[in-house]
């Protein structure tokens, strides 16, 4: 019987709320909903001896694959290890197109030997597997790597299950900047503060987070090395300093500064040196983000009356408007291939996540049915978006496929969760 610390609904049924065991702080419960058009049915068997460790690897692998939206888990209690010879006809009759099995063996030095095998049930083929010795604290990561392997073998695209997310929690008057696995688990506190923290921004190599902290009774941009906790001030000019974003080569940052009055966009070195003003308008210009090729800045400006999204070459030049849905559009995020822009649009008082395909000129699509969406951020493979919204009276994080069809809710049990940003490939 699977150890059910959490229960993941099948991709068709809505998961119901469950009481959580385990440590209370920032424990996430994942609820996956929606049906995708073409979902590969996959069975993830129980791994031999996985119930002797603290992590049920097969459950983590299955949840990862389902959250991605292109897989549908087949329920099974079968135990299959990587050396097994499963009967393909048996699994075909269960409706599986693919099958994963494995084992977790404790080694003499305290590490665990994690092994797995992936089978193509339709073709009756062994698609390979891996064996890795990992420290006990890396068991979750080992499961995510297995999900990445399966995802890549079966879709031809890189999986994002080993990536991390950053987000901010508020509990009473305490704020925390946290880093967790992309499934919301394993959250660790990077910064604990009695004052607000907003706008976390991952550096392209995943080693640093820039963010805005109000600890000095004003908005100041800091950068912090995630592994060491070492912080440095990036921008503390007169007035407010906010909305940091890194250039794709990690050598520059863009931020919104009030040092020359109002809110204007400046590009500066990675330590905040030599700020160069990019926008020159009497209006609000903010929330700048680099295009994936590093040559263009997308940003928010209310120069036409209400906030809209514009773009301008980093080196300077003509400003071009790119958002036209209604009178309030903010928080642009570009997909890693530069093809899509996610943003927040206010429609009849509701703040909704929209996705626009930039080159096509097609009508942008609202992809949620919630009313308080914020802070969209793409996964590094461009297939998922994480965002914050309000559900059941709580601030929660959600991931969604770009068509809005498969969504997963990451609900913290104890705190309001906001300001998510998806980190890069790095582990």
């Amino acid at each position: 019987m699977l150890m059910n610390r959490r229960s993941f609904g099948s991709s068709v049924a809505m998961a119901s709320g469950l009481a959580l065991a385990g440590p209370a702080l920032a424990q996430f419960r994942v609820e996956i909903s929606g049906v995708g058009a073409t979902q590969v049915p996959i069975a993830v068997a129980r791994f031999r001896d996985e119930d002797r460790t603290t992590q049920v690897l097969s459950a983590i692998v299955r949840a990862d694959l389902e959250r991605a939206g292109v897989f549908r888990g087949i329920d099974t209690t079968a135990l299959i290890d990587e050396a097994g010879q499963p009967q393909m006809s048996e699994w075909r009759s269960k409706g599986a197109d693919a099958l994963v099995g494995g084992s977790v063996t404790r080694l003499a030095d305290g590490r665990f030997d994690v092994r797995f095998k992936l089978w193509d049930v339709v073709k009756g083929k062994d698609l390979g597997g891996q064996s890795n010795a990992v420290a006990p604290t890396d068991l979750r990561l080992a499961a995510h790597h297995i999900a990445d392997f399966v995802y890549e073998k079966l879709t031809g695209e890189r999986g994002v299950f080993s990536t991390r997310i950053a987000y901010v929690t508020r509990s009473g008057t305490r704020y925390a900047l946290r880093v967790a696995d992309a499934d919301g688990e394993g959250g660790q506190v990077a910064l604990n503060s009695p004052e607000p923290i907003i706008s976390p921004a991952w550096s392209p190599n995943g080693q640093e987070l820039a963010y805005v902290s109000f600890e000095a009774q004003k908005a100041v941009v800091y950068a912090q090395e995630v592994a060491s906790g070492k912080r440095r001030v990036i921008a503390n000019f007169r007035g407010s300093n906010s909305a940091p974003a890194w250039s794709p080569d990690g050598q520059s940052l863009v931020a919104t500064l009030s040092r020359e009055g109002g809110s204007q966009i400046f590009v500066m070195g990675r330590n905040g040196e030599n700020p160069r003003r990019v926008t020159s308008s009497p209006s609000i210009d903010t929330e700048a983000t680099f295009s994936p090729d590093g040559r263009t800045l997308y940003f928010v400006s209310d120069r036409s009356g209400g906030p809209q999204i514009y773009r301008v070459p980093v080196a300077g030049g003509a400003v071009e408007r790119v958002s036209f849905t209604g009178d309030y559009n903010i928080s642009p995020a570009l997909s890693p291939d530069g093809r899509y822009m996610a943003y927040i649009s206010r429609q009849s008082g509701a703040f909704k996540l929209y996705v626009a395909e930039l080159s096509k000129g097609a009508t942008p699509q609202a992809i949620t049915d919630t009313r308080d969406d914020e802070s969209p951020s793409f996964a590094p493979n461009g297939r998922l978006i994480i965002y914050a919204t309000r559900s059941g009276g709580r601030d929660v994080l959600m991931t969604t496929t770009l068509d809005g069809k498969i969504k997963a809710k990451l609900v913290s049990t104890t705190a309001d969760v906001r300001e998510p940003m998806w980190g890069p490939y790095d582990r």
């Binding site: 910064l191 009695p194 908005a219 912090q224 007035g239 407010s240 906030p307 903010i330």
Partner: protein, 177 residues
Amino acid sequence: MKNIKFTAFALVAAAVMAGCASNVPLDNKAAPVESRTPSTSSSSGASTNANSGSKVASVDLTKNTANAELARVVYFDYDSFVIKDEFRPVVEAQAKVLSADRTKKLSVEGHTDERGGSEYNLALGQKRAESVTKALKLLGVNDTQVEAVSFGKERPAVQGSDEAAWAKNRRAELASR
């Protein structure tokens, strides 16, 4: 409003002193929230002069402008940065104090209600703060005496999702530094 400031100060102080198991310890100075209480003894104004059973000496604090608490908040209409006429006296009173003492500094903190994105609201709050600092400078305050900053929607004065709460959050607070 004074109550809100005291409560906020108490909360912050309590939070700081509760001790944080943080990876990055922050400077534990509590937020400097200035509260200006009258320093003259101001009991009810009835003297306890035992020599006269019915004499009551009157202590008038309203003339004692140096110790009176100055109003410190300017409220704004939705989507507006215009200082309404009813709040002009607030700005004028502060300008007077700052003009009289050039060592005095003020931080003008702009705020918005909860609706909308964090960063755009930070910029809107900045506009409100700058509206006040501009007015102060026009009244003779030196540029170096004031800094306009913003908390956007991150520090509401009043919790709630109705117009009554929103109206109390659209504000600029003038805080001594």
